[in-house]
């Protein structure tokens, strides 16, 4: 459950942002999580809801999670396909089994709304 450590990192970053901007409350947080980030969005949200309860700054904040896409490039014919889910079994164009992933490993704090 390494998501908890990552949520702790997020909360300290939010404290810092609020201090820099003289804000008292976080209204919403928008994150991008890639399917290959090794971070389970549901676990991240669960960790956030637990830890946010103990934190006046973020207690009532809304967490918005966008799932980003991975592009799989065929090592045979260079065709690409995009997915937000599981790795495709093979290339739809030529049937090649070796596909290389591009992107989709991000865990990004995109936008924070505060008041």
């Amino acid at each position: 459950m390494h998501e908890i450590s990552l949520v702790q990192g997020l909360l300290s970053q939010l404290q810092e942002l609020a201090r820099q901007n003289n804000m008292n409350r976080v209204v919403s947080i928008t994150m991008d999580i890639g399917p290959l980030s090794g971070v389970v969005a549901d676990s991240f949200r669960f960790g956030f809801e637990i830890l946010a309860q103990e934190d006046d700054l973020v207690r009532d904040a809304t967490l918005v999670i966008n799932t980003t896409t991975v592009t799989y490039r065929c090592t045979g014919c260079d065709a690409t396909q995009q997915t937000r889910g599981d790795k495709p079994d093979n290339c739809p164009a030529c049937g090649e089994l070796f596909l290389l992933a591009e992107g989709g490993d991000e865990l990004i704090l995109n936008r924070v709304e505060m008041e």
Partner: protein, 253 residues
Amino acid sequence: MCDACGCPSPSDHAHGPSTHTHSHTKTVDVHESLFAANEAIATSNREHFEEMGAVAINLISSPGSGKTTLLEHTIEALKEEFNIGVIEGDIETERDADRIRAKGVPVVQLTTGGACHLDASMTHRGFHQLQKEPGGDTLDILFIENVGNLVCPTSFDLGEHHRIVLVSVPEGPDKPSKYPKAFTSSHTFLITKTDLLPYFDFKVEDARDDALKLNPTLRVLDFSATSGENFDQWLSLLRELVAAAKKKNSLQA
């Protein structure tokens, strides 16, 4: 400056978020990775390791696949040839460090007290402790044995040069398919305890093919550290990694 101990880090990254204000609220566009803090410390770790001339190797596997036993046999085989140091990660106890210490090389035990992985900051602390041990400041190879877990450690760069995932024969050949990130993020895949192949339904080729399907650039070795079968392949890989690190260092010097 690094968060772990205040030593100089070249990777301090200032960012200037763009902001726009509404009547009562303010929205800040941050666009920063939550891994950024860990990655900055990892980069500084890597520079520390290179300054010493060491190649750093992060070992990731389930509990019980033989990471510590592999290190014991590796130290036996190579301790006259190379200066080896070890950072051990576990949730509790000094047991692994005691086993390594008995082999006569510098070792530091990190106990995470519950955390399921090492991160760059813990590694940083461990490395500085290791430097204070006799022989800990002149290493050729630094092994970092991660907490036994095939999931969480894969998301944290420790500053290593080479990441290795181990699966032992009793665990079964389906681990690459079930825990893909351990294999997509590693450089080398070791299939260990091959002396037990006669007793388990484990086809080395299946495990190898599944892993290569996930990561075509992965190097795959299979051996037994206890019987010594194919163990030379592993020692050759380590010699190659040390030689590459020395070459890189001499080019930079």
